[in-house]
């Protein structure tokens, strides 16, 4: 059920949960959403980094399945991957400026793959060799190769706080959401369930919406993004 409310003078539309923001209207709203038909040529809308350990090329393209906006297809060598970030870093957790990040994403291999979705500082290898590799700061969900554990994580100056969600990764679409209340608490939700809340240890530098996906074996793997958006007041 879609409802609306006023937050900081902006009209916010939300769905089911107070934190699941869909759209906001206001004089200083910062709203980004991955578009249908967006240009994935690197340096246009996104910085796209393909990591190819073999001889081929990992790719990201517009979705060809109903509802999907992007399709990542890795090449067929272990660790082949795509690292995607919006060009620019327009978001920053700061007092008085609540923020919502959400993404609905699926992967076609639950165990032998790496996934990171959220926001981070500029970084072209958010995961490297099946290990977290966020250089400085971020708020994100991730899972690593050889496990189906999904973690909610916040990272400030290289120090990571991570909490297992208790939900095992599978090949279904999942909704990853992060909400910063603009006061001092950041909350992580997986498919509508609370994973963790933190009142410290989260970054305060500028961040960019980010998506990373890698194959964890010598086989092509795919990641489909139905929607990704970030709204800050």
């Amino acid at each position: 059920m879609i409802s609306s409310k006023y937050v900081n003078g902006a009209l916010v539309y939300y769905d089911t949960y107070d934190y699941r923001w869909l759209h906001a209207v206001g004089p200083t709203v910062r709203e980004w959403e991955m578009r249908f038909g967006c240009d994935f040529t690197t340096a246009m809308e996104y910085t796209v980094t393909a990591i190819n350990t073999g001889g081929g090329t990992s790719t990201i393209a517009q979705g060809i399945t109903a509802g999907d906006r992007a399709l990542i297809t890795t090449d067929d060598a272990d660790n082949d991957s795509i690292n995607l970030q919006v060009v620019g870093t327009p978001f920053q957790l700061a007092s008085g400026h609540p923020l919502y990040f959400g993404a609905k994403v699926s992967i076609n291999e639950a165990t032998e793959s790496d996934l990171l979705v959220g926001m981070a500082t500029k970084d072209t290898t958010l995961i490297a060799a099946h290990a977290l590799n966020v250089v400085d700061d971020g708020i994100y969900f991730y899972k690593l190769d050889h496990t189906t554990d999904i973690y909610g994580a916040y990272e400030k100056a290289g120090t990571v706080g991570a909490t297992a969600s208790g939900t095992a990764m599978d090949t279904s679409k999942h909704i990853y959401e992060i909400f910063y209340d603009g006061v001092g608490v950041i909350s992580y939700y997986l498919d509508g369930g609370l994973v963790v809340q933190a009142a410290s240890g989260y970054p305060t530098v500028v961040l960019s919406p980010s998506l990373f996906f890698a194959t964890g074996s010598a086989a092509v793997k795919t990641c489909s993004a139905e929607w990704i958006r970030c709204i800050q007041l």
């Binding site: 879609i2 517009q62 060809i64």
Partner: protein
């Protein structure tokens, strides 16, 4: 003319649809948990393989952002008869399926009512929706939309490739004014087509079920450049 809204239940939940006051078949916007929404942007990149696949039959045409108030894109064919510009959004994110209502609309003008061919609507990936070297359709995959072929008759179409098609004729003829072409998939079993806001027909047969992308094609039906000026074009699906 003002804007109203209604709630629409569908497979993915319930969405808020903004529409023209008094006309629930003209959607402007929708807000919902998984809403699929595309609209040609002002200032969009019409270079092929960026946001759109642009195919010219008879090279030398141009596809540019509009320079007239309210125009998002201007397509100008080359100057030979049957020169053509075929534009499709990259990706095929839309699909008519039970429980997923969909709106498609476009407003555009052609500079000759009798010496042009056009198609506008949703189509499977297809670089020649109109035939090369003829004033005829050449739907390579499945499609639905409107077309006109070297005449002022405007026809609504649903077609499943290699299976069959259904058409209806609009009571309003093509002119060089900007005209509005719209259809609504009810999420059950039928597509209603509207030209200039008037019902052209409701199609319940040969409704495509494959993935589709917004598409527009303009063709010269004589040895002169033909121009299509697109005011807006959008597709909204509730999911």
């Amino acid at each position: 003319m003002s804007t109203s809204s209604f709630w629409k239940k569908h497979t993915g939940g319930e969405s808020l649809v903004f529409h023209e006051h008094g006309n629930e078949a003209r959607w402007y916007d929708a807000i919902g948990p998984n809403t699929r929404k595309w609209e040609m942007r002002l200032g969009s990149d019409l270079t092929t393989a960026k946001e759109y696949t642009v195919t010219e039959i008879g090279a030398g045409g141009t596809e540019v952002q509009g320079i007239t108030a309210g125009i998002r894109a201007t397509l100008t064919t080359n100057t030979d008869k049957w020169d053509e510009i075929n534009i499709q959004l990259i990706g095929t994110p839309f699909q008519l399926a039970a429980g997923y209502p969909l709106y498609f609309g476009a407003k555009f003008a052609v500079d000759s009512a009798t010496l042009s061919d056009f198609f506008v609507g949703l189509s499977a990936t297809d670089t020649a929706i109109l035939s090369a070297g003829a004033d005829t359709l050449d739907i390579g995959g499945s499609a639905l939309g409107f077309y006109a072929l070297a005449g002022t008759t405007i026809t609504s179409l649903t077609e499943i490739h290699a299976s069959g098609s259904k058409t209806n004729t609009s009571d309003t003829v093509l002119t060089t004014n900007a005209m509005t072409y719209e259809f609504v998939w009810d999420g059950v079993d039928g597509v209603s087509f509207y030209h200039e806001g008037a019902l052209v027909g409701r199609h319940t047969t040969y409704v495509p079920t494959v993935v589709l992308c917004p598409s527009i094609v303009i063709k010269a039906a004589s040895a002169a450049a033909r121009i299509a000026s697109i005011s807006w074009m959008r597709c909204i699906q509730l999911a």
